[in-house]
């Protein structure tokens, strides 16, 4: 594959290094003179200097081919967004991946249809939620393109659904139970599946339905 990596910081340089080692054709773009100098020692002609949001810089790096994949991994969210818009909409790059530095900017990427995105802070938060039992509803996976997410819920002793069958639940619209794990064994949740306290339940739902689902399953 031909992969264009925009941003030569720790993330971009390591991606370029790994992708090259895996046999891909790579061009790396870095704007800062000091960074470029040390990158050039390692990457030689693979790295080009310039602002990857400038059209002529992108064109010099071969964006018109276009690359099979464009990675926008600078430390600036606005730059990453514009790089992705240019790559996709002006040059027809089939796939872009954007780094989100500030999780508060995620909504802007979603609004402008830039997907997939990757945000270190959000990923760490997800892991924390998974580790900390106080969080009753754990986000396991976000399916951005589908606008769905998979969450895990533990059925409590006092849960209003304990002892009820799945078909008897009035789940919020836009949500479904996927599976029930009990004593380390999992089964697909069907209408006849009965929920019991301590069950780990996986559910798929539209983002924003978490509270409604929480109310039904946990009455909180």
């Amino acid at each position: 594959m031909y992969i264009l990596v925009c941003g030569g910081g720790k993330v971009g340089a390591n991606l370029a290094r790994i992708l090259l080692r895996s046999g891909h054709e790579v061009t790396l773009i870095e704007q800062r003179a000091d960074r470029f100098a040390s990158l050039e020692e390692e990457f030689e002609h693979i790295v080009q200097r310039g602002d990857a949001t400038e059209l002529f810089i992108l064109e010099r790096a071969g964006i018109k081919r276009p690359p099979d994949l464009v990675l926008a991994v600078t430390g600036d969210d606005e730059d990453n967004l514009v790089i992705c818009q240019l790559a996709k909409e002006k040059y027809g790059a089939p796939k872009v991946i954007a780094r989100v530095n500030d999780p508060r900017n995620q909504a802007h990427f979603d609004l402008l249809g830039i997907s997939p995105t990757i945000c270190a802070t959000s990923n760490i938060m997800g892991l924390i939620e998974h580790e900390v039992p106080e969080h009753e509803l754990v986000h396991l996976l976000e399916l951005r393109r589908e606008n769905l997410e998979i969450v895990e819920v533990q059925i409590a002793e006092d849960s209003p659904v304990a002892g009820k069958r799945v078909e008897k639940l009035s789940l919020p619209e836009g949500s479904r139970l996927i599976s029930v794990t009990r004593n380390g064994e999992s089964e697909i949740a069907v209408g006849a599946t009965e929920l019991r306290p301590g069950d780990q339940v996986l559910a798929i739902l539209q983002p924003g339905k978490e509270d409604e689902l929480r109310k039904v399953l946990l009455k909180r």
Binding site: T53, E54, E78, L111
Partner: protein
């Protein structure tokens, strides 16, 4: 009529003052407190301290019921993103975005964002000035 001016430097502050003078209800937004000084001592419009990428800041400035949004920070990409957020998320009918790079300005203009490129304006004006010099000279 309510207008928000995001980015209150040399350009933004003068736009804000002129709009206020023309009778608009103007709120300026800038991440630096010093920007308030550029609006002058008698500034009677609003001022919100914060970054235009922050939706809460835009809301505090009243973007929900603004008739016009001018985006004029010193970053082209910042302006392009804020402009698109104002247009697409807040459905603001009149969004004007300053973009110094003519190439990016043209691309986003094609996509329906109203961009103004001071660089292109300067190039045109300078070329016009040079052409004016070519007028026949009077012999000394």
């Amino acid at each position: 009529m309510k207008a928000i001016v995001i980015g209150c430097g040399r350009v933004g502050s003068n736009i804000a003052r002129q709009l206020l003078y023309e009778g608009w209800d103007v709120t300026a937004v800038d991440e630096k407190e010093e920007a308030l000084a550029r609006l002058g001592e008698g500034w009677s419009g609003g001022f919100v301290l914060g970054h235009g990428m922050d939706v809460d800041v835009l809301r505090a400035a009243g973007i929900d019921d603004a008739e016009a949004v001018v985006v004029s920070t010193d970053g082209d990409n910042t302006n392009l993103v804020i402009g698109q957020v104002a247009q697409k998320r807040f459905a603001n009918p009149c969004v004007v975005v300053r973009v110094l790079d003519p190439a990016r300005a043209a691309f986003y203009e094609e996509r329906g964002l109203h961009t103004v490129c001071p660089t292109s304006t300067a190039i045109d004006a300078l070329i016009e000035s040079v052409r004016a010099c070519e007028a026949p000279k009077v012999e000394a």
